[in-house]
Each structure stands twice: as structure tokens, then as C-alpha cells.
Subunit: 138 residues, 2 copies
DNA sequence: GTATATGCAAAGCATTTGCATTAAA
DNA sequence: TTTAATGCAAATGCTTTGCATATAC
């Protein structure tokens, strides 16, 4: 079962909902959405024209810190923001054009580190990135 | 069987070996080495004091393009360079301090994308990142 | 000899910061 | 009323670029 929409999850948190923050959250709705901060800024201005870049960055960083949004670092270019941070999933990236999809591969639960590989870490999370070429990149 | 040392692999390529490039390659020897461009710059100056930052960046980018060195993008901070690009392996990252280790987890071969998950891609590579807290980060 | 690598300094881009102002609870 | 969010503009950090010079092959 997919988690509730981002904006609804935010309403039940101790976090001030301002028009700016609402506009940022609404920019991020949907499946397979992986916008850069600048794309979020452009979209957010549609809902709140006087929003500033600084506020977009502030808000995105807060959403990431809350675990509601996931940062994805593509092979090149700026960080992208994935609104399904609450839903465990992975990524498929084109090394040609940077196209990015969410995937839920089989076999993830089989991934294991041995004690000696763990280097004393407490492991919280596994992220899997499949790299390749999309249908239109040679 | 581990691959031959980086500098030896480079000698058999159609790639001019200059003192600067040699100094960069020699900065990258060893297991569990994940230096930033600036750390490479510092080390490379030990071998060739008049090397410039631009040359370090140029050289690292070429090594990445050749597949000899792997770029690793930590949760924050600059790109790091991993000399074992020729040896398939994965990473364990501390979300506190950024500490980074190579790992070879069990179960990677079980990772599978279904046709519908493949989105028309030709998948070349899978990278697994374990995230957690190292022994000294709370 | 010729193509290619280098160094320098300047430009580029993404992101963060300081601080006075404004608005949410 | 009080605490926190916003906007602006400047600063930062990392990386790339343009171009004249030097160098490996």
C-alpha cells in the first residue's frame, strides 16, 4: 500500500505550513518525479509567484531531513528530489541522458553484509542503482 | 583475482604518460582509497610539485571515462574517486561523517529487474550503497 | 614536427548563509 | 506575542573552460 500523499503527511507534523512550503510540496506530487531544485522552483512559482530560491532550498532540505523526500545524486548534474522517500524503492539511471526511474527490484532482501564487511557500522538502509542506457541513448 | 595496479593498466593504453598523470595515478593506489579531487591534488604535488588543479581534474575525468576509476558521490561534499573501477564492488557510507568503505555484499547476483521495470533500458551495471552510522557516529 | 597536455586565471553552476523583514501559531 | 519562515544578495565550494605555452611521442 502506497503511503499517503506528501502534503497530507506534512499536515500532521509539527511543521508550519506556509504558502511557500505548500507550493514546494505540491510541485513534488506524482510517481517517477525526480525534479532538480531549479525545476521545483519553477513549478512552485506557479502556485506562489513571489517564492525565493532560498526558500525552495530550505524547504527541500527540511523535507529530506524529515525523511519525506529522498535526495538522488545523478552521475552528473544537480541533486534531484524524489517525493516517495517514505516508500522504500530504488533507481534506474541512464548514463547517457540522465533519465531516472523508480524501480522495485526483486532480490533486495537477499543483500547481506558479513560482520567483517560491516566495519562496525549500524546499517540503516540499502540503496540500489541500476545504470545503463535508455531506449533512446546509443 | 584483483586487477593489475592502476599505473600498469595505464601503461598499456594509448594514453600519454606524463609526469603529472603519473603523479595522479600514484595518488590513487591502495584498497579503500576514496579521495576527493583536492586530496588527490595535495598528494600529487608530493610527486610533482608544479601540477595544477586543472590537470588533476582533467586526469581524473579521463580515468573515469576510461573506466579505470569510479566516481562516488557521497551524501554531501565533493565527488570522491575510487581506483578500483576495474574491480566490481560496492559501498558502505556513514551518513554522519561521510566515512566510506568498499564492500562485496552477498546476494548481489539475485538482484533482478522485470521487463516492465526495465523501461526499455539496457542495464550495464548495478551499484549498491549501504547507508548507516559508523562506530564513532551516534 | 605535430598533436596533445599543461597551467593559469576567470567563469560557471549549485547551493548556502547572514540578516533585516514578515507572518504563522 | 513569540518564535520561526522568508527574501534578498552576497558568499562559498567545487568544477570547468579558454587560451597561450610547453612537451611527449
Amino acid at each position: 500500500m502506497p503511503a499517503a500523499p506528501l502534503i497530507e503527511r506534512l499536515e500532521v507534523r509539527p511543521w508550519r505550513i506556509t504558502p511557500q512550503r505548500r507550493a514546494v510540496a505540491e510541485s513534488l506530487v506524482g510517481e517517477h518525479v525526480h525534479l532538480s531544485a531549479d525545476e521545483v522552483f519553477t513549478r512552485a512559482r506557479a502556485g506562489f509567484p513571489e517564492i525565493s530560491r532560498a526558500t525552495v532550498y530550505n524547504t527541500l532540505n527540511e523535507l529530506v531531513a524529515m525523511g519525506e523526500v529522498l535526495e538522488v545524486r545523478p552521475p552528473s548534474g544537480p541533486v534531484r528530489y524524489d517525493p516517495n522517500g517514505a516508500d522504500r524503492h530504488h533507481h534506474l539511471v541512464c548514463t547517457g541522458c540522465g533519465a531516472l526511474f523508480d524501480v522495485r527490484p526483486d532480490g533486495v532482501e537477499a543483500l547481506r553484509l558479513t560482520d567483517s564487511q560491516r566495519h562496525g557500522f549500524r546499517v540503516d538502509d540499502v540503496e540500489v542503482v541500476f545504470r545503463g542506457r535508455c531506449a533512446t541513448c546509443p
